[in-house]
């Protein structure tokens, strides 16, 4: 559990944020630019001074202005990957990677260096100078460098914002695999709604230096009173388990709490493999009766939980399929003609499901 309360005034900027984030899983700090996301992350790492700060990790007090406690960053066991990572000029990739490894890795793990490097696909790059790395390679080296220092908590400040979508997906995949393998708690800062929803188990919404909402990602992403669900690209992530694959039609069946989904997939997975899928609100349409003979693969009985009018003659509808939230974006006219109310039963037709490519 990471318990924090920060108050910081810097120039015209004023941050006053408090909350509790679980010391497990992936937490995402999401907000518009200049909301104070980076500052919040830096405060957690202990890099900002001059704040009224109180932060505790589990039963370890990291900082308390009133008690005069301040554990410096190098003793918090926190890793941080900056948006623009820096390397000492003239260093090779190997020197950069070994910096934290030498200092922090417990002796019994010392033989794992080569394996970790291989897992990140950096084996052939060790002798290169850091100056010659491309943007994506720099991020990969920075991420592995942080991990090799054996952090107990990994902070990521928009680590993949400057690189193209394909590479970002690869890196997110690496991060995801890593999370699954090591159960390393992560706090990830982003201003991309899609990244936030895809990645998060827990969400902290930050606006103008204040915590607007804090809770499980499922609930917050589907809460129509919060900005995430009201965006044109609003989406929810659903955690599923692989059930079966139909190679002839190129579709897979996935089970989730409350129902099943068919998704287009090129290959089968291990039975029981956990997959996170992303369903955009714009890809979900609603009907009051079960549609017959439709091209839509997924028709799910659902209940309307809440709905909200949006400015552009649209309505965003928060649905529940069993316990699983889903969002639908329909026109204001459709909402009126279907007489949508909280509590009423509908059929959600899910057109496109993005199988998590990470």
């Amino acid at each position: 559990m990471l318990t924090f309360r920060f108050q910081l005034r810097q120039g015209g900027f004023d941050l006053d944020a408090q909350g509790v984030l679980p010391a497990q899983g992936r937490s995402v700090i999401f907000g518009p630019s200049a909301a104070g996301k980076t500052t919040l992350l830096r405060l957690m790492a202990g890099l900002e001074r001059g704040a009224q700060a109180r932060i505790a990790y589990g039963d370890e007090l990291w900082e308390d202005r009133e008690q005069g406690v301040r554990i410096p960053p190098h003793r918090r066991g926190v890793g941080l990957v900056f948006q623009h990572p820096v390397f000492l000029p003239g260093n090779t990739v190997e020197q950069a990677l070994r910096y934290g490894w030498r200092r922090r890795q417990p002796a019994e793990h010392r033989d794992g260096f080569a394996a970790a490097v291989e897992r990140f696909g950096l084996g052939a790059q060790l002798r290169r100078r850091v100056e010659t790395l491309s943007g994506g390679e720099r991020q990969r080296v920075a991420l592995l460098r942080a991990l090799l220092a054996a952090p107990r908590l990994l902070l990521l400040d928009e680590p993949f914002s400057g690189i193209d979508a394909e590479l970002r997906a690869t890196l997110l995949h690496a991060l995801e695999a890593l999370h699954a393998a090591e159960a390393l708690p992560m706090i990830y800062v982003t201003h991309s709604a899609e990244e936030a929803v895809r990645f998060a188990d827990h969400l902290l919404l930050l606006e103008a230096g204040r915590v607007r909402a804090l809770g499980s990602a499922d609930a917050l992403a589907a809460d129509v009173s919060l900005p995430l669900a009201r965006r044109p690209d609003a989406a929810v992530a659903i955690d599923t388990e692989f059930v079966q694959h139909d190679a002839d039609d190129g579709v897979s069946r996935l089970a989730f709490s409350g129902g099943e989904l068919w998704v287009t997939a090129s290959r089968p997975r291990e039975p029981g493999a956990r997959l996170r899928v992303l369903v955009h609100a714009r890809d979900v349409s609603l009907a009051r009766t079960r549609p017959q003979a439709s091209s839509i693969l997924n028709v799910l009985p659902a209940q309307v939980a809440a709905l909200a009018e949006l400015p552009d003659a649209a309505v965003v509808v928060s649905l529940r399929i069993g316990a699983t939230p889903l969002l639908a974006r329909v026109s204001r006219r459709s909402a009126r003609e279907l007489e949508l109310r909280p509590g009423c039963a509908v059929y959600a037709q899910v057109k496109g499901v993005a199988l998590q490519n990470f």
């Binding site: 410096p72 000492l88 200092r103």
Partner: protein, 226 residues
């Protein structure tokens, strides 16, 4: 001049100048590095005033600086009186007095490259090192010193040759005592006064050679690095 005279040519002013410049440079690097760091960390009014004070010796005629240093280091000055109580003699006309005076005189040339280096130092390097487990001294050794290598070298060479070549301050504070405070520049002046041009020439040529070599090394090393 006879062959016998050149056999007993007195090189001690050169040795004294080298000793003075070396000791002063080492002490200035030790004192100047934390000072430069402190000056750039935050830009308060007090720190700007200190910066102006540090740079002042560059602006003053060396005799003015030397005069006030003599007063301060002499038996009636604050530092001199302290030394007198401690050891029975003030700093005036002593080698220790020369070192203190030279440190003041050459301070700006050492601090200036170091402040420039610290200004350029990206704080992200230090933060990254800290988050990878490096404590303050570790960061100084593994991040600051390597990144400021060229600036430290520049500071050392400038401090050294500036001290090596000073005249007015050492004359005022040291008093030109042979073997104790008669450094190279004073010896050259004395030789010229005595019309011993050959001696003056030998020492002067040594000074030119020394300073040129030091500067050449500086530029060879720093410009290859950047």
């Amino acid at each position: 001049m006879s062959a016998a005279a050149s056999a007993v040519f007195d090189w001690s002013p050169l040795a004294l100048s080298l000793e003075l410049a070396s000791i002063t440079t080492v002490l200035l690097l030790l004192a100047g590095t934390p000072l430069a760091w402190w000056l750039v960390r935050r830009k308060t009014l007090a720190r700007r005033a200190v910066t102006a004070c540090v740079m002042l010796p560059l602006a003053l005629p060396p005799t003015v600086l030397g005069f006030y240093l003599l007063l301060a280091l002499g038996p009636h000055g604050p530092l001199g009186a302290l030394a007198e109580r401690w050891s029975g003699a003030s700093f005036a006309f002593t080698f220790t007095g020369l070192v203190i005076a030279s440190m003041v005189y050459s301070l700006p040339l050492v601090v200036q490259p170091l402040t420039a280096g610290f200004e350029r130092l990206d704080a992200h390097h230090l933060e990254t090192a800290a988050l990878l487990g490096a404590g303050p001294w570790d960061r100084l050794a593994s991040v600051v010193l390597p990144l400021l290598r060229a600036d430290l070298l520049t500071a050392a060479v400038l401090g050294f040759i500036h001290t090596f070549g000073e005249f007015g301050v050492v004359l005022m504070v040291g008093g030109d005592i042979p073997g104790r405070t008669r450094v190279l520049s004073l010896a050259i002046y004395d030789h010229v006064q005595a019309l011993d041009y050959r001696e003056a020439n030998l020492l002067s040529a040594a000074a030119v050679g020394m300073s040129f070599t030091a500067l050449l090394l500086l530029y060879l090393i720093t410009q290859r690095r950047r």
